[in-house]
């Protein structure tokens, strides 16, 4: 069973995650987001936000988010195009953790690489209800 994000200390380093972005996974993401741009097919590339979202989904296999958790902010930097079918690696750290006004504030830093090269870096801040 995965641990809860709010139980982890600041500085926690998650196990590196490696996963393949299959054509089916990329298509499911684009269908769900309603993204019909032809560019991805022309380039054989995955939408960059899909890379970040799928990495977060893979991370959620290691750690659960308490029900009611909300996304407060997101910073993303795209460094390289990720081809459909590529295998990517995500290294994530719980960079900060604090509590205020009934919420636990967690800042997650992620570095996602493709074929050994940086592809997407992300910093997500999420708010989880603090236990009463």
């Amino acid at each position: 069973m995965s641990s809860s994000l709010t139980d982890l200390p600041a500085g926690h380093v998650f196990e590196p995650i490696t996963f393949r972005i299959t054509p089916g996974a990329a298509r499911a993401y684009r269908d769900a987001a309603g993204d019909t741009l032809n560019l991805y097919a022309q380039l054989g590339a995955v939408p960059p936000l899909a890379v970040a979202a799928l990495a977060l989904g893979a991370l959620l296999q290691q750690v659960s988010l308490p029900p009611g958790t909300l996304h407060a902010s997101e910073s993303l930097r795209f460094s390289a195009r990720v081809p459909t079918g590529a295998t990517v690696e995500c290294r994530a750290t719980l960079a900060q953790r604090s509590q205020r006004a009934g919420w636990i504030v967690s800042v997650l830093d992620s570095q996602i690489s493709c074929e050994g090269r940086p592809a997407v870096s992300a910093r997500a801040t999420v708010l989880s209800p603090a236990p009463a």
Binding site: L37, P47, P48, A53, L54, H71, L76
Partner: protein
């Protein structure tokens, strides 16, 4: 160098879309997909994943800048208000400046009532 205009993107959110996004992304937080749970929260009902709504901004920038966005885009945003099933969300960009070879925009997603859901900046090298 002038900063070109960027065409907006508009989408209407449905619960089916949010459910499909939960499946595709692996984020099954009940605030998004469980109406009974969501009704008990301060949100009062299900809300879309922030990353789903943010994807409209990235789609808008991809349409405008193509591969340059995929290998040199940056986004820095805050989620200001939840987007709900039935909301029609418009992503738009306002040119800010061109600096050191990069184009910078103020970006936002707003609801049909012009409530700002997400705002921040985007830059493309």
């Amino acid at each position: 160098m002038s900063v070109p205009e960027v065409a907006p993107v508009t989408r209407t959110l449905t619960q089916a879309m949010i459910d499909a996004y939960a499946e595709a992304s692996g984020d099954h937080n009940p605030i998004h997909i469980d109406p009974d749970f969501a009704r008990t929260t301060p949100m009062g009902g299900t809300i879309a994943h922030g990353m789903l709504v943010l994807s409209f901004i990235s789609e808008m920038m991809t349409a405008a800048f193509g591969e340059a966005w995929l290998r040199g885009g940056t986004l820095d945003v805050r989620f200001r208000a939840p987007a709900r099933p039935g909301d029609t969300v418009t992503a738009r960009a306002r040119p800010l400046e061109s600096k050191d070879g990069a184009l910078r925009y103020a970006v936002e997603c707003a609801s049909q009532a012009d409530e700002v859901l997400i705002n921040g900046t985007a830059e493309v090298a």
